[in-house]
Symmetry: C2
DNA sequence: CTGCGATAAGAGACCGGTCTCTTTACTAAA
DNA sequence: TTTAGTAAAGAGACCGGTCTCTTATCGCAG
């Protein structure tokens, strides 16, 4: 004798109007919370709505109003704690202003990123937050901007695209981290990053299409050169895109006779894999090799020794880029802002003097 | 002389139809990829669409078709790597079938969960995946089900709600982990979980409204009792909901004279905080206290010593719950399935004999 | 040469809201 | 008593697609 589970078409304003014996317009006014309605009518419509279990169709609502209340977010990889934390910052800021978030991840692939943007635009999100995976091909981002939908960039700036952007002082951070290693006596320092390039071999800065990574490498090289290191670009390693790739890369790098005495990792996921490789090879930190990584991931404080990190304000990064976007969504027009948040080095125990 | 950045209203099928000199219906057939159209007309409509930079309005499309191509996901906490990984599994499965994902997190609060469900239903998602934060109040989940929209549960079963569910063998896993500790000689074992309850004091299984946690505690208690432990429920600690709370709880627990010689942590976030507290108190693992945690989080392998864990197939959990849901979305009707995935214990170095 | 079926294109209703414009009823000022 | 003014409710267009139903055209068999 149980009720048939479904098949009951969701109720509409027209259904409620009929039940309450008012016009569709009046019912819509009550249910939509706009216009003027007498208290008596309001009560009876509300009662009818409750009785019928009316739930508004946000889709229909969005179509007429043109606003969906949704912010689209395209990140490189949700699994990377850096992004999960940033997304949390975005979500919190969005929720506080009554917006919701649709998440899509690009896997750092430009084609996936384009598809995601197309999809979100199609869903008529009110605005987008993107971590652009490339600076070469940004036509899809131009399109967003051109279509009048606000766009904001997270963690990675694009010189050619003048929109709200929140990044950290990547170059500065890389310089300081490198100086820490140089100060400890290192001259053979490797920089390991996920960015893919043809040949996995670093040649030139212009080959790096991810702005944050380019900044970091630039800072790294600059600090190395200032310390008189010869051709530091030899020690930039690209292509740590997966744990396997990173493992292979690290293994190859550490088995080499002229192996680095210190490593600077571009994110915590890479650092973890490098740490694993170091352990596996029976080497010790910081005795055999020193390590610094970007992102103060939660685990970096509990290893033995704990890892010295570049602490990025990740949550704030997400929170403020969302706030910038929302400000614009609310109609405030102002010139695009480029926020650069400061980082700090947290000194732990993973840096020591070089040991050849 | 630059073009005005926006204000150009997005083009519609009607615009394209006009430009191509065909009827709206014909243009729609081409652009929507349905119906029959001659090659000549198809070409001219496609050309017109490209010229006008037409982009379909998915909102309008969803409204008439009734399908949005979106799966709504409500998880407890995106920041917890357990959930990020599960979400990744969901996303991958969804993408493979042409679905997209809207993510909302409840913060394990029932009110936020209800709001999220209401929102997603309003957005007319095609189906929902939820990790119910409570088994007491599930009217909102009943509503989903009743409205005919498929619902699937992730990680937590609800006995009263007969829908597709994917969980792991929590009770079994807890028993095995507890037995490992008991086998090492421990009789004073603490179980620490995030679940909140009035008074933070464990009294009764019926007080635990999160099914997975209840299962685990049940298994833990059962294994303890089998080993002749007296009143093991004394050692169940609730309320590790934030890092601060966990820290406080752990600190209090470890400073107590009759402190546990081993700890079983309900997730990796809790374990990390417990580990920090242990270190901070100058205690050592496993000499002073043994530790096992649920979830083989990436960091558990790199601490000294590495942590023995209960390895849950988290990605598969997400992937298969999404597949179950999608199967139903595609119209296949079958009785609700309750999948229980197996776990395994990965023995590392965090368990040793008790040391009073 | 007529008629039938198949194919291609057009006309217009519809989805479920919002919103403008119009109508109605009632109060208050002239 | 007439009239202006206002508050409240109704009628119906509209958003941008989909989809059914109708109409026009063409080939081919009888």
């Amino acid at each position: 004798m149980t009720k048939v589970p479904s098949s009951a078409r969701p109720k509409t304003v027209a259904d409620v109007a009929r039940a309450a014996n008012v016009s569709k317009a009046t019912a819509a006014r009550v249910l939509g919370g706009y216009g003027v309605v007498s208290d008596a009518i309001r009560a009876s419509v509300t009662a009818a709505a409750k009785a019928l279990d009316y739930r508004p169709n946000e889709l229909a609502r969005s179509m007429t109003t043109g606003r969906s209340g949704i912010i689209g977010v395209v990140v490189g990889d949700i699994e990377n704690p850096f992004f999960s934390l940033a997304v949390r910052g975005i979500s919190d800021a969005a929720k506080a202003s009554g917006f919701n978030v649709i998440l899509a991840n690009s896997g750092e692939k430009i084609e996936a990123e384009k598809a995601a943007v197309r999809l979100l635009i199609g869903k008529r999100v009110d605005g987008l937050i993107v971590t652009p995976s490339e600076s070469r091909d940004i036509t899809h981002l131009r399109d967003i901007h051109r279509s009048g939908r606000p766009l904001a960039l997270l963690d990675r700036a694009l010189p050619d695209l003048d929109v709200d952007t929140v990044t950290v002082d990547d170059r500065e951070a890389a310089i300081r981290a490198t100086q820490v290693l140089i100060g400890a006596g290192h001259r053979n320092i490797a920089y390991v990053t996920a960015v893919e390039a043809n040949g996995h071999e670093y040649v030139d800065l212009r080959q790096i299409y991810t702005s944050s990574v380019r900044e970091r490498i630039d800072g790294f090289l600059s600090a190395c050169r200032d310390a008189g290191v010869d051709r530091p670009e030899r020690h930039v390693r690209l292509g740590a895109t997966s744990s396997e790739a990173t493992r292979r890369l690290a293994d190859e790098m550490l088995s080499h006779p002229g192996r680095p005495t210190a490593i600077l990792a571009s994110d915590s996921v890479i650092a973890l894999e490098i740490l694993r490789t170091i352990r596996q090879r029976g080497m010790r930190i910081p005795d055999d090799v020193s390590l610094i990584t970007f992102h103060d991931a939660d685990w970096t404080g509990v290893t033995t020794p704990p890892i010295t990190v570049i602490d990025q304000p990740v949550y704030a990064l997400g929170h403020s880029v969302a706030e910038l976007l929302i400000r614009r969504l609310k109609g405030q027009i102002q010139p695009p802002e480029r926020l650069v948040l400061p980082t700090a080095i947290i000194t732990r125990g993973s840096v020591g003097p070089p040991h050849p």
